[in-house]
Every structure is written in structure tokens, then in C-alpha cells.
Subunit: 228 residues, 2 copies
Amino acid sequence: MFQICQDRAMEKKDGKRRDKALSRDQVISAAIAILNESGESGLTFRTLAQRLATGPGAIYNHVQNKQDLLAAAADVMIQSALSVNRDELAPGAAIRAVALDVFDIIDAHPWVGMELSRAPWQPAMLLIFDRIGANLQALGVPDMAQFHAASTVTNFILGAAAQQAAAIRLHADGAQRATLLSAAARAAIHQDKKSSPFLQRMAGNLTEHDDREQFSAGVDLILRGISG
Amino acid sequence: MFQICQDRAMEKKDGKRRDKALSRDQVISAAIAILNESGESGLTFRTLAQRLATGPGAIYNHVQNKQDLLAAAADVMIQSALSVNRDELAPGAAIRAVALDVFDIIDAHPWVGMELSRAPWQPAMLLIFDRIGANLQALGVPDMAQFHAASTVTNFILGAAAQQAAAIRLHADGAQRATLLSAAARAAIHQDKKSSPFLQRMAGNLTEHDDREQFSAGVDLILRGISG
DNA sequence: ACCTGAACACCGTTCAAGT
DNA sequence: ACCTGAACACCGTTCAAGT
């Protein structure tokens, strides 16, 4: 559906003017390549221009600004993640599948999660909302309740996306996840001694749970609330 | 619990050196004042230094970096929002109250929502997690399930926080919320014609629902899943 | 019409020099 | 020990000049 094309970069060696075929799709796909390789901090109009063998200004002929660029990039990723046909699944299983597909793409490319939570009303987010909601009718949710049900699941996914993106970023920083998390928990607990009993009781789970399993359990829990 | 102090700014008029009493709390409270007045984009080490009548470098004597500053500011806001005693409430109502307190503070100060979703493992977030979890035992949730239940509610709150913060920011930009949202929805729908039937059916709700009611309904729905 | 890249108006952060 | 503010190494974005 979306071709990553890098050949443009090769033409940079000679100082000549490139063939003028720069398109919006090429800009977005180059941005995605940089984001996947170097993360959010690696994407700059200068690095992007270099990969496209042009000047920073040229990018603005195909993209409104950096927000627009990031939203378009995230949309491509989410569309690709949700392109698998799930029609054969039962409605509950289909919702679970959509949620896990989103989780997995964010797990693999944390910048997508950061971008979704930075601007929740972008096309990528509406696509997720639609795919969740499309299964509610078959699940037997009344018309009036479908909007609240879909938005609840979507908000949960959004929150988990931010959480997961941050977790991966911490991990990528080379720091031990357990160390950082328990340090944070300890700091919070320490701050007002014994006023955080639940946090203290859950310290072990916080540092050792499986993120994907936690996410999946959350989806199931919400589905139970929707169906019940 | 936390005093906003602005008197320091008054000393700036004369060119003399200020009395040296700059403290971490003063830096954070000045940052909060700027954030509440001008939003995220208004907070700069230069604007903050100006309000504190000092140089940008001085701030680093009391704060590690901007992330640290924002996390500390958000923590103050969340602590203040959750400082009301809810012990007399039934566990379900207490969880609802915590969630709505967080919603309201983000509604009033959208930068808090942005900050929470930027770094989900900061003290403010752990405090919310603790306050939610503290009511699960009384709600009759089994020990093993309490972690998943608390993290599900927390993730939902986090997602809604990002959503709400973005909504307020759009509104503050002077643009009509309905216009922008329906434009986004229309764009998403248009993109692949009739492949978004649910989004189309919900277009009206998307632009006209009440955010707080939607949030409250989401909390109720998850609570039903937890209890059921 | 589109590219080019220097220039503009900023950032967060550092650090020698002060007190 | 803490402040001061110029300087550093960047940003996103604009725009005259090219083709």
C-alpha cells in the first residue's frame, strides 16, 4: 500500500540538481524511514531534506508544517497496521485484534504512540475509533451507547499508547526499566511516607508485569463493561 | 499547601541584584503561573528567568532541566486536585471523584494533560494510579486483578487527558470546535469513501457531545467491567 | 511551479566570570 | 554556593533568488 523509496538519496552524490519528482508521498515515506531508524528526535527538516537531497524549504511545498508531516506519517502507520482483514472474527475478538494491532505497531515504533497522544483528533485516531465502533452493533450494544463505548475503548488505547511509547523510550535510553520505574515509585512513596499503600503493594507488579498482557487485560475488562 | 509567590518579580524594576532567596518551590510556582496564563508555549527559560528577575542559567541551580520542571509543576497541580478528602464516599464513587477531579484540572489547565501524556511515569501519574487503586480492595476486586483494574482506569484517564487537552487547545485557537472536528471527520471519511460507516453515523455525536459527560460515562463503563 | 539554501527568530542548555 | 548573561548548538519556518 505504501512504498518506502530511498533511491532519491542516492542521487545526492553528484552535485547536480535532482530530477524534479519530489512528491508528498515521498516526503512522508522518507520521514517515516527516519522516524523508524532514529526516533522522533532524529526527524528534522534538515535531516529530512538531506535524505531527499534537497533544501529544507522544498519540503514545505508538499507538507504544511511538521505537525502535518507527523500526522500524515502516523496515519500511514496506523492504516498499515489495521489493513489486515478481520471480518471473520467475532465482534469481541475483532475489537481485541484492532487494539492489539495498534499496540504492536506502537511497541515497534514508539514515535507513533507519541504522535497519537500529541494530537488525538488526527486521521489515524479517527480510523482507530471507526474500526472499534464498527464492531459494536454486532456486539449488541444499543445505538445510544455505541458512541460512549467506542470513545472509552479509544481513550484507553490512547492512554496505553502514550504509556507504552514512554516505556520503550526509557528502555532505548539504555536504562533499566525496572530500576527507573521502581525509582519513580520509591520517590512517589517516599514523598509522603505511608500515604501510598496501594502503590507500595503494587511495586512488584509495576516493575515486572508484561505490558502487552496488561494492555490485553484492560481491553477485556472494558469489553466486559460494555457487554454487561 | 503550595503558595504562589510573585513578589520576586517586583524587584526587577531596579537594576540591583536581587536578594538571593531563589528556591526550587519558587521556580516551580513561577512556572505554574506562566503555564496557567500563557500555556505551554509561553513557558521558556527566558520568560521564566524574567519573571524571577534573574538569568536563564540560574534556574538550573534548582531544576534539572525542562522535563523535570514540567513534571514537578504537573505534580503540584495533581496533588492539589486530589487533596480533597474522599474517605466518606463509597469506593465506586471515590474512583469516579478522583477521575473527575483530574478531568476538571486538565479542563481548566490543559498543559497538565499534555504533560501527563508526555511522560506517563512521572510522580503525578503514579499518584493518580495510587488513588484509584486504593479503592479497589473495598470494591471487592480480587488481589490479583487489582493491578490490571487500576492500570486500566489510569490508562483511560491518561488517554482522555490527552484528548481533552487537545480539545481545549483547539478551542483556545479561536477555531470552532465543531468545524475543526467535522472537517477532520469528513477528511477521514472522504479518504476512503464508504469504508468508515461508524464514523459517519457518529459524526453528529463527535461534534456535539459533552466532553465531561463522555468522560464520566467511560469511567462508569470501566467500573462496570471491574465489578462485573 | 518547484527547488535552493541562506537567513530569521527563536529554543534548551552550558559555562566562564562575577558576587 | 549561587547568580549572571553571553555564547553554543541547535530548531521550524520564511523567502529572495534561481531554474
